[in-house]
Symmetry: D2
Subunit: 336 residues, 4 copies
């Protein structure tokens, strides 16, 4: 790490920092410039607690790490993780589509959707049984009944099931039914939940928090991996910015950036990323083109009747058109 | 709620919307303008699911609520909630200071801090026993041992104890030891936790999420209150913006705005709000002046030895100076 | 427009609002709900000054427009504007690439770049002769000498020239040399400059401001068009958010959204949008896939010697690879 | 500056960087760690062009400056600048209030306001004669007639005049009439305007841009000072964030931070900072408490008739109450 001293820092202050650096197990290198003295501390890892300690000392202007704080999810470990979900593989160069309603509402709604998305080429069925809703007065999900309907839809269509878990107490139950457990954006830094998911033997899809940096996103993935579960997929679903014309701002540059920094596969969710049905298809094409490993899209047979997220849900026929539309884009990737 | 139709919306589409509005139990009022037709739906509450449904219909440009979505925490219910924490009251026009270390680290650290802040006039001792940390490799807290040390410090100093709970599974345990349970910014939309805290018979301090709007903040408070616990205090602790010169951007306008919208008391945390020791004191003065009911400040006897948040922690003597400094500002409020 | 009255608004206050609405030339419609009275004002345009006036009146909670504030750039006027730049057309369904260095530095640098990008298929040469730089100590551009070099490069290669104008006083001079005048992000709301460009007989490329909403972006375009110049192209070049891993956050959803709202062609700049050479190519592919009409990319023969923006500049051979890479994506669009 | 090499950087790449550093006139110090090599470059100034060049080289992960990029406005030059505006001084420990309408509309409006704010204790009259408006269809200002009315109000009341200049072509004219020239938020990076204001012999108030960092804000001030005009005051007026409940997010922590980094006086504008009349007074108190040198507030005798910014304008009697309210807070500062 690097410690920049204040303009008028004294020799005593500089010595004190060097001693602290040695106590922490690093080797200090003092570089005296005309205007400022800088100290480089070389050693194993740039621990946040060491940086904060040095930042708190007299005469220090700033202290910051050089090394990335994530380890196990880093691209430096391996080039790519391919995650097996039964006979479906995410991260092997192919393109996997997950689709379904925001919430599981009724058997008819779910089965209609599942059959339609399976017919159009989706491999996973999404659907929320536990819903994290901004208002306590909004629909909170069918809970275990929703999970049962998802399992029934899997039986009927062969689709794998991805569904959200919102509470540590529900992890085992959800893991019994789901093929992939999803962590929602609002829980990306629910560290108790992440730790618990480290102990699960099913893949986890981690959605990026509304105001999470790429570094924080990867550190949340690191929680799951370091607690024992290597099968984590990352989902870019838009971040919160000043722009209100779209529900969120879909950060597609995050996809190739995550691919540079990490070996984990990356999925894009253009439904939450835009919040507007008419924008889902162009952004789905862009997600393929930018190099994502998969796509998650909301589909509802009757958006007007949807209990949540109707305005961003595709109708089954629109979803089928989207699948046709992205197919040649997926084809181009294979030739690269 | 208001439904704005698209420029070329047909009569059939307008009729369809009116029928849907009636089905939902509202009365539609159609207003035909030269350029656009607008429909106002009058009735009980502007339910989000109704708005989303109408937004999903053909011919609709946009639909939005007129009424605020929070009820129980609204200022329309009552002017102000005063929360009793033993013999301390928050929200009665006085000014309550909470102080202590970011994390409970050792007995010596905690007792030294507790005695110092009590002597300087703080009424509550803060200190984290369960720490939500961005990296899995950072210190995660002493857990129950930390709670025991907090209880011991209470015995010794008479300070009330406020500490964070990060997991639904820990709520009962933390509630046994703490006088006030804190929900951290990263858990502001951990709805499972909020519901659980609705059943607790102790006050809760809810910190504003890093990217939470005022409306979302109040809806999270509404979760706790609607699940049975009326004693919620709100804490403004800075939001995430593009500015990196401070750790967060402390949104002091939120204080009078929350006071206009809600009856819940409001606390300001200038330590997390700025991330810089030298900025804590001016912002503490501003928090008093802007009309907050209380202040939460991080204090550590030896910031350089702190396991977390050293750079923003005041030393005990700096905290005492801050208390002296804000005293006349508190005095001015009493005269108003 | 819609005026929401406060919960306890009196009949006198409601009457006053209705009178004001009539004075402004609208027709008021009063809708009395159980909890709140809402007034709809129907008429020509929802003028901001009227909205603000009503918002300032007693008893009013909020007032907001229904109609979009832009007129001439609206999609409701016509489906699409195709802009002719000599024999090149932007907005006719094809895909136009603009490339070149951030700044014009030397004859050798510019001619080398121009020949390389022309050979690879670019149609316009970009290069700054007047540079808006954050620090007064950074290179400010070659000014008229830079314009002359651009003209020379056009002679030599047949490329059209696009270059930035930063000051009203320079508009005539820049218009003499350039085929397209560019307004930089930092000047998107330099209204004096926009008005002046309304009088120019050359196309203008307007870059989105760092914190400009889509609505503000279109209103800035409306300035140019309403002052007489219909040939405006919009450029999405990334917005400022909390994320610092990329220089800006490229908002690709803005492209189809602008296409829904406006008839003006849209160009994407992945160089400024990401600030990182390795991210330019994937985002260029995504820009084609999402439906942009063109691309602007920074190219420098020796990025290490660049006086500005080296880290985001492609080398000529990388640019040629990018052109090869996007070609089949452009081909897919033609089939649609 | 510091150059962090990539994990597998070769000796040749490291040597190349060291040679470049020497060419630029710095001395390189190579620090080899277990995981990464870091090179510190010591010398005069950390020039952005050097940093970008090194960032563009092979084997480099990142490069960043240690020194602040602003010089003349830095606190390291002198503790504080006091600016004389006739017999009024800003930055000498006192507190100066500037007030008046958003726009100069009519003689009656301006004279009524000027007399009222002078009577209540304001020292400067604000009022826009040239208005930078988001929409071309909004009122653009009375231009020179507005300036003449401001001069007349100065004659009548003794108030000094502050007014905005939006175009380089108008600088001389505005400088003839105004005592202080204001640069609006949207022009904070209109560098042509800043350079021109460097040649003016009148003080300049520079408003912070909507998405400007503190560093960029100070660099814009540096433009004016380095072009010859030392009398620059900074104005914090709120930044753009995701929060829409207030017009902007007033960043009061910027005030003590600017006081740490720079010797220029700092003014707070709670009218634009909040956009809501009811929030202006509490934020005005907070601005005094946090250590600002002055305040700018919008006042209009009849906010409902205002041509702009009515909802955030105080009525004269409200302004007088605000002045009474802040007086004891100003008194507290004198005792410190």
């Amino acid at each position: 790490m690097i410690i920049a001293m204040k303009a008028g820092a004294t020799d005593d202050q500089i010595d004190h920092i060097c001693n602290r650096i040695r106590e922490f197990g690093y080797t200090p290198h003092v570089i005296r410039g005309a205007e400022r003295t800088v100290i480089a501390a070389v050693g194993h890892g740039d621990k946040k607690e060491h940086i904060e300690s040095l930042k708190s000392a007299e005469g220090v202007e700033d202290a910051f790490p050089i090394l990335q704080p994530f380890k196990l999810v880093s691209r430096e470990i391996k080039p790519k993780t391919a995650i097996k979900i039964g006979d479906v593989t995410l991260g092997d160069g192919g393109f996997v589509v997950m689709a379904g309603p925001c919430s599981v509402e009724t058997r008819e709604q779910l089965m209609t959707t599942a059959e339609a998305v399976a017919a159009a080429g989706a491999k996973l069925l999404r659907g929320g049984a536990y819903k994290p809703r901004t208002s306590p007065y909004d629909f909170q999900g069918l809970e275990e009944n929703g999970l049962k309907l998802l399992a029934e839809a899997r039986e009927r269509t062969g689709l794998k099931v991805i569904t959200e878990v919102v509470n540590t107490a529900d992890v085992e139950l959800v893991a019994e039914y789901a093929d992939v457990l999803q962590v929602g954006a609002r829980n990306m830094q629910n560290f108790a939940l992440l730790k618990k998911l480290g102990a699960v033997r099913k893949p986890v899809m981690l959605k990026r928090g509304l105001s999470a940096t790429i570094k924080e996103f990867l550190l949340s993935a690191e929680y799951i991996v370091s607690h024992g579960n290597p099968d984590v997929m990352l989902c870019e679903r838009g971040i919160r910015t000043f722009e209100t014309a779209t529900r969120n701002t879909l950060d597609l540059a995050a996809v190739p950036l995550l691919n540079e920094l990490s070996h984990l596969p990356v999925v894009v969710d253009p439904s939450h990323g835009t919040g507007k049905r008419s924008l889902v298809r162009p952004l789905a094409r862009a997600a393929v083109a930018v190099g994502a490993d998969g796509l998650m899209t909301e589909v509802h047979p009757w958006p007007e009747q949807a209990w949540s997220d109707g305005p961003q849900s595709l109708r089954p026929e629109e979803f089928a058109e989207m699948m046709n539309e992205i197919e040649p884009y997926v084809g181009l990737r294979k030739r690269e």
